[in-house]
């Protein structure tokens, strides 16, 4: 049964609905969709081009020797090729990032524990959080200048130690933010449960809260480590660079990133080869860490839901 539609008679409904929008509205809509995707492609293009270039130039010369040998001196005519590698830079990066981690990770985690567990909403926490945010926006080169002023000028030598200090200041806010974020995700019921069982604050914090938040903390720490490993600016005039093995914490020390910066203008093809392989290692390291942390972040949160 189709009852008569009184309005249907006076208006031709079919025309109202199928009449297209004005051409400028249609065109604008389609143009913008295309533009958004062009922009997306434009954003991803550099990443893909860069990865391609680093793989193309870095991979062929990657060998065990890259990790164990020192950079070969400029070849003399007729000499047999010498072993060519960046063992010194690997060593230096490991020393400096390791030492920076030793300084910044405990400090950062403890500070984050205070911010998340003991001082929510207090004045100290507000200042500390503000300082953390500002510090994470301070350019890394300024961290280098700071370490130069405090360490290099007073010890009168460029050193791995100065580089480590610069890197640790760089890592500190990253560790604090990541740890605080992870601790905040721990439900309050767990804390109350632990306290109800008679646990002290120290016990509650470490055995319950930190233990629960550990995957998140580890992820944040890994990202901070990867970031520090890739940084150049804080090391360029603190740890400087040397073609030799490091002679200790208080002597100039090579690093992968500074090696790339120092060699990129070098006329020696051996060194150009070397720096692309070093770039491959660096990029591989950060990408690996990023993907790893992505997976680590995703799995606990999906479990929790």
């Amino acid at each position: 049964m189709h009852p008569v539609d009184p309005q249907g008679a006076e208006t031709d409904g079919s025309k109202i609905l199928v009449e297209p929008l004005s051409w400028d509205r249609t065109l604008f809509n389609q143009f913008m969709t295309v533009l958004a995707f062009v922009f997306l492609a434009l954003a991803l293009l550099p990443l893909l081009a860069l990865l391609f270039e680093v793989l193309r130039l870095g991979l062929p010369n990657l060998s065990l020797e890259s990790f164990t040998a020192l950079p070969a001196p400029p070849p003399l005519e007729g000499d047999p090729p010498e072993p060519n590698g960046f063992g010194n830079a690997i060593q230096g990066t490991l020393i400096m990032v390791g030492l920076a981690s030793l300084i910044s990770i405990p400090a950062g985690v403890l500070a984050a524990i205070y911010l998340s567990e003991f001082a929510k909403g207090s004045q100290i926490a507000a200042w500390s959080r503000f300082a953390t945010n500002i510090l994470s926006g301070v350019p890394s080169i300024v961290m280098g200048v700071f370490a130069y002023a405090v360490i290099v000028l007073s010890t009168k030598t460029f050193s791995a130690f100065a580089g480590s200090v610069a890197l640790s200041v760089l890592m500190l806010p990253i560790v604090v933010r990541a740890t605080e974020g992870a601790l905040n995700l721990v439900p309050d019921s767990l804390r109350q449960g632990a306290v109800a069982l008679g646990a002290t604050k120290v016990q509650t914090t470490f055995l319950v809260v930190v233990a629960t938040a550990l995957p998140g903390i580890v992820t944040g720490v890994l990202l901070a480590v990867a970031r520090a490993a890739g940084e150049t600016a804080p090391l360029v005039f603190t740890a400087l660079y040397t073609d030799l093995w490091s002679e200790g914490l208080f002597s100039p020390t090579a690093s992968l990133s500074v090696l790339i910066f120092n060699f990129y203008n070098d006329p020696d093809p051996n060194r150009i080869q070397l720096l692309w392989t070093a770039a491959l290692i660096l990029v591989g390291l950060v990408l690996f860490t990023s993907i790893l942390s992505r997976l680590a972040i995703r799995s606990p949160s999906t479990q929790r839901r």
């Binding site: 809509n29 860069l50 926006g137 002023a149 910066f261």
Partner: protein
């Protein structure tokens, strides 16, 4: 507390508790000190820069900011040309990066794509932020600069009458630096814009669509205005990053401290100045001048980041 409830001797219970309480209190104090350490580090950085810059501050005063001469041999130092290079390269990078970043954020928040495709693409954009600066520089020198060179020549040939393109390109220069910078700050702006857009109430979208708005009319007339302050916060963070970005810029900008209207000319930024000169600076006045320059950069980024912080914080307040 519940003293006397347990049959335990009160003495034992008391000392055990007070010891435990003391450990707890000590722990809180220790963590609190580490929280304050962050504030102390920030203040120490500022104080150290100011202290080390003092010789140069005394020698040049505020004329340091208005003089464009950076002459190491004659020990005449002014930061104007370098500050100009810093600001122009960063603003130019924003000009390039902001539209692209917002486009990326929209393409990844609106339902153009199924989530299966969207998530990995968003992750790839995030990876852009993970690539070390020095590797961007390396890529810039070897790929981007040769790629841009013909374009720069063409700009000079056809549009040389415009001051912006009035000099023959030399390869490295302001334009390539801005392009590299824009790639590096893009993920920051895109990520924050995406966050801002994805927390806007879905009701805005449906209300606009129900009034006969198309998708892009909704985006331009409702979503972007509603998210404007948050997106601006992201832009400021991107600007802060661009101002302080060092290695990649150092490698592609040509490092010539000059004020030239032409984008094809080499230039210099404060960060690249520090990176190239600190290692070999020995004259106290030279070191002081570099410290003074670092102080200017520190102040500049501090200002920008504080504005960004305030903008982002107002959004968090609005949300609650």
């Amino acid at each position: 507390m519940a003293q006397g409830v347990a049959p335990l001797p009160q003495q034992v219970l008391g000392t055990g508790r007070s010891l435990r309480r003391r450990v707890d209190q000590a722990f809180i104090v220790v963590t609190g000190l580490f929280a304050l350490l962050i504030v102390a580090v920030l203040l120490t950085i500022a104080a150290q820069l100011a202290y080390q810059a003092w010789p140069a501050v005394q020698a040049f005063g505020l004329s340091f900011l208005t003089s464009a001469t950076w002459d190491v041999i004659d020990s005449k130092f002014g930061v104007l040309a370098i500050a100009y290079g810093t600001l122009v390269s960063s603003l130019l990078a924003l000009l390039l990066a902001v539209p692209v970043s917002i486009g990326v954020a929209l393409a990844l928040t609106e339902d153009f794509l199924p989530a299966v495709v969207r998530t990995p693409l968003a992750f790839l954009v995030e990876l852009l932020a993970a690539v070390p600066s020095v590797v961007y520089g390396l890529w810039g020198v070897n790929v981007l600069v040769p790629l841009l060179f013909p374009l720069m020549e063409w700009l000079n040939l056809k549009f040389g009458w415009i001051p912006l393109f009035s000099t023959p390109p030399q390869g490295p220069g302001m334009l390539p630096a801005a392009v590299v910078l824009s790639i590096m700050i893009l993920p920051t702006i895109a990520a924050i814009s995406r966050d801002v857009l994805s927390v806007l109430p879905t009701e805005f979208r449906s209300a606009s669509m129900a009034l006969g708005g198309t998708r892009w009319e909704t985006i331009f007339r409702v979503l972007l205005p509603a998210g404007a302050s948050g997106i601006l916060g992201g832009v400021m963070l991107g600007l802060g990053r661009a101002l302080g970005e060092t290695m990649a810029v150092t490698m592609v900008i040509g490092n010539a401290p000059q004020i030239s209207p032409s984008l094809l000319d080499p230039a210099q930024t404060i960060a690249s100045l520090l990176a190239t000169q600190f290692g070999e600076a020995s004259e106290p006045l030279h070191v002081g001048a570099l410290m003074y320059a670092a102080l200017v950069l520190f102040g500049l980024t501090l200002l920008v980041n504080m504005i960004a912080e305030l903008l982002v914080r107002t959004i968090q307040l609005e949300r609650t």
